[in-house]
Amino acid sequence: MEWFDTWGLTLIVFLPLAGALLLGLLPRDNEDALKGTALVVTLAAFGLSLLMITQYDFGGGSYNTYQFEVNETWIGAINSNYHIGVDGISLPLLVLSTFVMVLSVIYSWNHWEEPYNPKGFLILMLILATGMNGTFVALDLVLFFIFFEVVLLPMYFMIGIWGDRTPRKIPGFSREIETRLYASIKFFLFTLFGSAFMLLGFLALYFRSGEFGDRTFDIIQLTELGGMGAFTGTFAFLVFGAMFLGFAVKVPMWPLHTWLPDAHTAAPTVGSVLLAAILLKLGSYAFIRISIPILPEEAASWAPAIAILAVIGIIYGSLACLAQTDMKRLIAFSSVGHMGFVMLGIATMTDIGINAAIIGMVAHGLITGLLFFLAGSMSHRYHTREMARLGGNMKLMPIMGGILAFTAMASLGLPGLAGFWGEFMALVGSYNPLDGLPLGVFRTSMVLGAIGTVLTAGYMLYMLQKVNLGEPKEEWLDKEFHDVDRFEMTAWVPLIILIVIIGFYPRIVFESTTDTVVSLVDTVFGSEITASLNSGG
Amino acid sequence: MLVNQFLILAAALFSLGVYGLLVRRNIVLILLSVELMLNAVNINLVAFESMIRSADATGQIFTIFIITVAAAEVGIGLAIVLMIFRNRRSADVSDLNLMRW
């Protein structure tokens, strides 16, 4: 497998892009060829990522050591390299990304939003795939920045072109504008705003690193420097703040979340699936991969603030859900809550918390992805997402209703399903945060988070009650509803199975993450940091 | 050597040119104002040269170039004037304002 060690990762990242180019050459009307190519490409990427699991040495080793590493000069002038690699933290997310991508292609086989243009849509999906996979493996800040941004354009077009066309009255705008137009540009500007500051932060790190040798964007080297306490004081504060803006927008953390409900509601089904399943993870992943290891002290001193924002997000998101009348918008807001748990886990700065965050990301990716699939398919059939008009779905489409119920249960963190571990362990972590962090804040967060789970259950049941149960409204009685079709099944069943498996055997995720995270925490939060925290309070 | 007087003269000429360029409506007159300004510069250079007396009379050389270029400029200007006059039978710049927002 010599070739695989060197080329495997690059292939996983760039196969989709190559596929996109290929699709560009194919004729627009030869649909089967288009779909086929897309499927083959994504399957190939997924297969390679599975192969990578088999080849990956779970012996772990200490943090900041990566496997399948590639390090080639890219922009010599600024000493920025094409440096990629995976470790226990990024591996599950990479697999998740390739996996969901395959399912999305399968799903979109017979689900095309208007205006009908499979070619364009598939191309965008594949570009998106490259961006997402790349972000998870990039080990160079500039490279990371590029991949991080590459996802913007496809998503912008997905939302803008295939998005929801219902006009909406938006406060601050004189006339009504179509949701898709508002949402797409909002998404774009929000993210760009964040990443502008993120970039400034990266550059600052780059120049500061010059004081300890060559200036570098290399995450590994910067992590080492960070471990040696190279970045401290106001500088570190500003840099962390700048990067925080960039990442927090993507997560999204309260109060930078408002692009999310609009984007999700407006986006076409596959768009919102990918958005929820993977794009949101880019931000939280970046916290784990960049903010914490490179600026550990700063991270620790920001931790309480992050925890508080996270908890606000949990409560706020759940409450907002209860006020929604639009099914998709409700699910979108639920993401705010769930990502709140992820960020709470990260904020604890402990191995438990960070593991919780990672499995939380994976679970949220699977569950909310599935929820958006369902929401899409239902609005495909009902042509409305207004829960007031829905109801009795169980009668009209029993299987769909059953799956919806299952997913809702998973989403509210039912133990035995994937969603549970992220939430539970986030709470566990916040009971004993990193030594020296204010216990009061974190334990309060724990309690509030636990209360948040109740609210979560509340709106999920509310949704089921509105959508699934009761007698169907008159307007549907005379209509023909075809239950879940085979493409939907093929796309969903793997998700369901995985949700159950992870629920009962989370080890398949932790096996990969634990050692890495533990050594991450051990290495970056050495005794001196906790000591300084304790002294500084 | 009384350079300053020359400089003052030049400055005066230059200002005159500017004023003319600003208030004249007829393009031809505007061109003349431009000539004034350029020649003011020439006076400057010559005056300086007379003060500096550089090895290869740089000032004069520069002046000559400016004169040449100025001629070319005027040529261009007149060409434009003709074009405009053809189109609208007037060389008045004040009604050249189609493209206001």
Partner: protein, 494 residues
Amino acid sequence: MTWEIDYLALAPELVIVVTLLVVLALDLFLTRPNKYWTATAAVAGTALAAIPLVILAVEGENVSMFEGSYVVDEFALVLKGLFVVSAYLVLLLSHHYIESERFYQGEYYFLLLASVLGSLVMASARDLIILFIGLELTTGPLFLLAGWRKGDAKSNEASVKYFILGVLSTAILLWGMSMLYGLTGEITFAGLATATAGLADEPAMIVAVLFVIVGFAFKISAAPFHFWAPDTYEGAPTPVTAYLSVNSKAAGFVAFLLVMYLALPELSEIWAPALWILAAASMTLGNLSALRQSNIVRLLAYSSIAQAGFMLVPFAAAAVAGTNIEEGFSATVIYLVIYALMNVGAFATVIAGANRTATGDIDGWAGLGKIDARLGVLIGIFFFSLAGIPPLAGWFAKFAMFRAVILAGGTATVVLAVIAAVNAVIALYYYARVIKAVWLDDAPAEVPARAETPPSVSLRLALLISAALTIVIGFFPAIATFVGDASRIIAAGG
């Protein structure tokens, strides 16, 4: 003294000279239907001019002629390369446009090539006279070209405005130069660099420098000396506009930087703040004004004003901070190169788009992407690249800019960086407006007129080249950085 002239070093200029003579000659003899040969000749000539450039670059030895007033070094070569390439692209655009508009072709190409020649001269100019000649040679022909659509009142107006303000600026510039000469007795950059030492507090010197700056500010259409730009851009034939916003702007920039950096380093405390102000004003004014444009050319005009601001940022910041000035210099040049490429592309799409939809109104382009996907994609590429969205070349321009600014450090520069960051976001908004019209808005019910005339081969070629460059540089910015290195070298050498 002896004048040994290195003809190889002058080969690019000579090739252009020959070409424009050939064009002139052909124009005399050819009958109307065969006039297109002039175009072919011009294009071919420009392409030829690239060959000596490559050779010189490979040889890589600096040639300095006329007592160092005319220098052909790596930096000059890089910029000449840029000028030739962009000129080549503009010629490709013109070919289609001029033919379809039935203009005088011979004269057109003659004047355009003359302007190119001027810009080539400027790249090598190392004393005020040659610089002045080059400058006039660059702009003079454009006064006429701007009014090339003779019948069109707008075009007339464009050329008049450009002309009057142009000569005004020339006069001011010259006044400043004459003062410089008067105060130092030097006209070579090297000489000035030494002679101006310690004259920073001389009021006359301040005025002189400022007048020079104002003169150049006109050429690069930096606020508040930009008023001519939108009107002229809108009125002039689109290829000419492209040339204005790329070559002449770039040429102006080069001259500007050279003078400031090589001739007046000692006076940086005078011009650095001025540049700072120009940069900030141009970015803000340009972007905010661009938000309101309904005509795409006018939008690009304001965008190019804003971009000029962005380009000034690194150099100004470094100069104000007084540190890492060569980094700032190289960043500006990198930005310049990338900007030139993507902006030509943008104008190419404008021509193609107008050709498709028979309108220059952004709203008129609604749904263009669905009518002509290829063109839509290209529009997306160039406009998002202008907005600086990865992985398109634009991102690296912005990246280099921020990099240089942060490197410079200091309060004033941080302020400038923040202004730049905010403006970058604003800019996205109006660039995205075009994309929105093209892709997101629905096509009007009736099929736009002239939708059937396909863009000519030359136009396609221009689009292809600029698009390819935009994307490739986006993925491999290393290509652009060697320009920076080159400028860093001259910075070191100068």
